[in-house]
Structure formats: C-alpha cells, structure tokens
C-alpha cells in the first residue's frame, strides 16, 4: 500500500515536469511575439491562456488520479 504514495508522487512530478517546460516555451513565445507586434498583445494572451488550459489537461488528470490514489485508495 505504501507503493501507491510513491506512484502518486511520480505521477505528479512527471506531470509537473511536462507542464513546466510547456509553459516556459509558451510564455517565451508569447512575449517574443508581443514584442514583435504589440497591437496583437491581448489576442495573443487569450490564445495563450487557452493553450495553457489545454497544456494543463493531461498533467492535471495525472494529479487528480494521484490525489485519488493518495486519499481514496491508500487513505
């Protein structure tokens, strides 16, 4: 039963790895393109938030299942 804690932490950790690098690239590109064309600033921002939500989906599913593992199964 202790293994589920390790499993949960691995899930959350790897998910965070993916999300972190994804957001970094996304944010970098947003700032670059806003610098290149400032008038498109707010349009790009809403699209970035949309992409941030999509990017967040799979790691958050992992975190959700990990939380369930911790409290539901091994709780």
């Amino acid at each position: 039963m202790e293994l589920s804690y390790i499993a949960a932490s691995i899930m959350i950790g790897l998910g965070a790895l993916g999300t972190g690098s994804g957001f970094a690239i996304l944010g970098g590109k947003l700032i670059e393109s806003t610098a290149r064309q400032p008038e498109l600033g707010d349009q790009l921002q809403t699209k970035t938030f949309l992409m941030a939500g999509l990017l967040d989906a799979v790691p958050m599913i992992g975190v959700g299942i990990a939380m369930y593992l911790i409290f539901g199964v091994a709780g």
Binding site: L50, G53, A57, M60, I61, V63, G64, M67, F71, G75
Partner: protein, 275 residues
C-alpha cells in the same frame, strides 16, 4: 468537528471529500448514507444529493440573474447587473465569432450557459472549506461537499451533454453517410485502411468528452484537496497559504470555465463542417 479534539488527518480529509449520497442500501433501504462504506454499498442506486442540489441552485441563480437583467434592460443608464451581463454577452459573442464557423442559433446561448454555470459552480470553491460542512453537520447532515465540479459525475454529465450535441449535429449537418464517411476515410483516403481509420477516429471522438470532463474535474478536485490540506495547518499558517491559493484560484476558476466553453464550441463547430 470540535476544534478541541484531535481529528485524525485522513479522517478529516476523507470526510470533506465524501459526498452526501442518498440511495437504496441493501439493509436499510432508501436512506442517506452515514459513512463512505454505506455509500459504496448502495452501488448503482445512489445519488449525490449535495452535488445535485448545489449545481441546480447555481443554475437557478444563473437563470434568475440573467432573467432579471433581461427584464430591466434599459437603453438609458444601465445598472451594475446589466453591465455585468452585457460584458458576459460580448465576451462569449466574440469568442464564438472566433471559434465557431457554422451558423446555428443555439450555440451562443449554449456557450453562455456553459460558461456562466460552470463559473458559478467553480466559484463555490472560494468559500472556506469548513464553512458549509460544519454548518450542515449542526443540522444533522453529516457530509456536505459544496463544489459540484469536484464531483466527477457532474463534470462527466456536462461533457456527455456536449458529446450528445456533437453527435446529433454531426448527423444532422453531415448526414449519417457523411459522418460515417468522415469517420472511416479521414486520415488515409483508401478503402483498405478503413479499420485503421475507424480506430483512430473513434478514439479521437471518445477522448473529446473524456478530456473535457477530466480536465475540469481534476483541476477542481486537486484544488479542493489542497484547500483541505491547508485548512488542517495551525491558524497562522492558514492565512499565509489560503489567501494566495484562493487568489490563484480566481484565475483557475475562470480559466477552466472558459476552456470548457471554448472547447465545446470548437468541437461543435467541427461537427458543423460540411465537406
């Protein structure tokens, strides 16, 4: 739940994650489950009363507010409510202009309802974790999870509703033949590869509602668990951690409602494409 006694942490977490279920228990018939085991023994014939209650309440609040704004809409000086409602209208309108290619009269109201309803359901999370469970335990109701979107049934119900619309509009706009042709011939337009195409397309079709539901559920569930964990800390730590996490959640709450709505509109516009 008295502050004095030492409440075991896992009991506290599990209590706050447990829904108030009403269902047919093998021994004591139709009753409110008094423990997690009883709730699970109820099997299929059980309903999460608190999730249903709070989601319907938020739905009625949405209808009441928008109807009130509609009734007292004036071309003169608009009141606060009218400004807010107009802001939501314009926000959803230009989002749909960008995302929706077909023309269908029910998409705008659908997107508006989805956005505002999910927004209301999510904002219940900003209320402190202990407030309603303790209040209701005073009234003899022992479980109360007030945020409907932290219950996978609610988000899956929303996603299946959207999925039903996707299917019915695909059939309506593309016709059964068109839809079947799209499913079987999309990536590789060759009859020999139909089974492979079908596998790809069916999986892509089924992932849509699943990802919609799980994205909203997991974001809200993880946030809720962290709120509960913070609530167990000593008093001064709660203020230090709960306030930033709640402020961060104001973004998460709006973002998740926005993403659920935009993705539903995008999926529906894909369903309206006519080759």
């Amino acid at each position: 739940m008295a502050a004095g006694n030492e409440v075991s942490t896992t009991y506290y977490i599990q209590h706050h994650l447990q829904n108030l279920t009403f269902g047919k228990h093998p021994e004591n018939g139709w009753s409110l489950a008094h423990s997690a085991e009883e709730a699970s023994e109820m099997g299929f014939w059980a309903i999460h009363v608190d999730t249903m209650g709070w989601s319907i309440a938020m739905g009625l609040l949405f209808i009441f507010l928008f109807r009130k704004a509609g009734k007292m809409a004036t071309t003169g000086v608009p009141g606060g409510l009218q400004n807010a409602v107009e802001m939501v209208f314009e926000f959803v309108e230009d989002m749909i202009k960008g995302a929706f290619k077909g023309h269908n009269p029910i998409i705008a109201p659908l997107a508006r309802t989805l956005f505002v309803w999910i927004l209301f359901m999510n904002t219940l999370k900003i209320i402190p974790v202990d407030y309603f469970p303790v209040l209701f335990s005073k009234l003899g109701v022992d479980y109360m999870k007030i945020v409907p979107t932290t219950d996978v049934n609610a988000t899956l119900g929303l996603a299946l509703g959207v999925f039903g619309l996707i299917l019915c509009y695909s059939f309506k706009v593309k016709g059964v033949g068109g839809f079947a042709k799209e499913l079987s011939l999309t990536p590789f337009n060759h009859w020999a590869l139909i089974p492979f195409n079908l596998l790809l397309e069916i999986v892509a079709l089924l992932v849509k509602p699943f990802s919609l539901a799980m994205r909203l559920f997991c974001n809200m569930f993880a946030g809720e668990v962290i709120f509960i964990l913070i609530a167990m800390l000593p008093f001064w730590a709660i203020w230090l951690l709960d306030v930033p996490w709640a402020i961060f959640h104001i973004l998460i709450v709006v973002l998740q409602a926005f993403i659920f709505t935009v993705l539903s509109v995008v999926y529906l516009s894909a369903a309206h494409e006519h080759h």
